[in-house]
Symmetry: C2
Subunit: 319 residues, 2 copies
């Protein structure tokens, strides 16, 4: 294992330990059983890793980074729990989602509790947390807006690539930006520097989300397939769907209207493949990863090797 992979594994293990050490009472079980289930589930922990790597590069106290990174991961977790209800997703990281294992009411309340815990963890810092808290809540509102746009876009055939990018900037990019920007706000860095980190997160978010949509199509795992099916049924927009509709409107409509769901799950990937849409979209994803790396080059005087390696690691992921 390379030195860098060891660093990532170490941070991930520390974050998982931190999540496990958040004091969650035993009762009421209606609230805390699903919260425990959710925050101790597997996850890639990319967001807390981003916080630690950007903070390390700027010499931020590791204890502070731990609190910020746990708050960021809990915020992410909360949005997943509520989004899974709204999107009828039944599987997350190979396990039943909360609303599937329990019910929607339980999942609504668990999400509320997780978001509250996120802020309790953030407020534990021995410091005037108000600037961090402001940024944190503005990020949450951005994510809510992104989710609202995602819901509005369902079955809307007029969505353009720019509208799609604006949606993922809010839904995905804003939290990646916050993950790297919060340690900078703690450090009292200049607005210019914070803006560079935000742009880094936004580009990374675009690369990451577009890549995610491709992986859903090209991966042959059952879980991915299930998710693809439900996404299609709900008329979710992705870069590939928009391209297919724009460039091959007649053929795309024909395929969608002719097929039943199980046919669709086979035909859509081969449609994207044969029309060159996967390759084209892959290049777009790559260009955003490159843009995120360009941002890092603008951070004079900071050694950003670890963040560069993380971007490269994310770019190479296969699930």
């Amino acid at each position: 294992m390379s030195d860098f992979n060891e660093i990532i594994e170490f941070i991930r293990a520390q974050v998982n330990k931190g999540l496990k050490n958040i004091p969650i009472p035993d009762t009421p079980r209606y609230l805390y059983d699903p919260i425990r289930y959710s925050i101790r589930s597997k996850g890639k922990r990319f967001r807390p890793i981003l916080t630690h790597l950007s903070g390390r590069a700027n010499n931020v106290d590791p204890d502070v980074l731990m609190n910020i990174s746990l708050a960021v991961e809990l915020l992410h977790n909360f949005t997943l729990v509520h989004d899974d209800i709204m999107d009828n997703d039944t599987i997350r990281h190979g396990k039943d989602t909360i609303h599937e294992k329990w019910d929607s009411s339980t999942a609504i309340l668990a999400g509320d509790g997780i978001y509250t815990l996120a802020q309790i963890v953030l407020n534990q810092l021995p410091y005037n947390v108000t600037p961090l808290s402001k940024y944190f809540n503005n990020t949450t509102l951005d994510i809510c807006e992104g989710q609202a746009l995602d819901k509005e876009f369902e079955n809307d055939q007029s969505i353009t690539e720019d509208m799609y990018l604006n949606m993922i900037d809010k839904k995905t990019g804003s939290l990646l930006s916050a993950s790297v920007a919060l340690p900078m706000i703690y450090n009292g860095e200049s607005d210019d520097r914070i803006k560079i980190y935000e742009a880094f997160g936004r580009y990374l978010g675009r690369g990451f989300q577009i890549q995610d949509d491709i992986l859903e199509i090209t991966s042959d795992s059952i879980i991915m397939g299930k998710s693809l099916g439900s996404d299609i049924q709900e008329g979710k927009q992705t870069m590939m769907v928009i391209k297919a509709r724009d460039k091959f409107p007649r053929e795309w409509d024909e395929m969608l209207s002719d097929s039943n769901l199980s046919d669709l799950m086979k035909n859509i990937p081969s449609f994207f493949e044969s029309k060159g849409i996967i390759e084209e979209t892959r290049l777009i994803s790559k260009s955003y990863f490159n843009s995120s790396l360009d941002c890092l080059q603008r951070l004079d005087g900071i050694i950003v090797d670890e963040l560069i390696q993380l971007v490269e690691l994310i770019e190479k992921r296969t699930y």
Copy 2:
């Protein structure tokens, strides 16, 4: 109109104006239309009024009180939006609830947004808000616990009066306590004084909630009736239900098993009335209102006339 009623009307109007002036963007409409609908709906505004009255008595800056009171009202609003989904309530203050007018997904996201706005408003104070924010989030977690207990208690015939009181302390009392305690925390008052305000809020919450349960039974409005019906179907616990079950187990069971829903809605109130349960419960509610007034007497040097009058006003309410 008495001077005191004029004060209350003035504060209510100011709070409504404050809620209306919170900058809510136009789009995405999926998120902001229901938020606007919800926070500009009617409401008694008891919680913000409590904040203003306790703060006035302690010479807290009115601008600070406005931010705290709006945050408290938004937190209340958020819990109502999510509770209404969980409890299948379709009417609130004479208007369709969000999940009824739109759908559950819309209501989940609107609630998330309203809670986020609550904290954004709190963080606008020109001050280190961390102590307030900590208290605020601990209150939210208490409310989540209260709602969890309420859900756990549904159809559980073993719930005692003490368990019920613990549930309403969390679900109702904690926010009333926070409404009066937050200005004291801002003021840097002693823990002892804050504890008195918290006890005041807790007793007021018990009086208020038990009174609410009585009003649902004795009020003949269609809205109240509808709510009673859904509460019974869901097996909700109230002080009166617990007393009926404890004191008249056989007759209570018989009535519940024999009747259809529309019969129940007539028979339950007359059961409570004829068995003296309404009168007994009314006295309990009254004793908690009195305990809340006793707390106020322990606040040496503070003129609490307005809070006393507010308790008396709440005690006399008929809806």
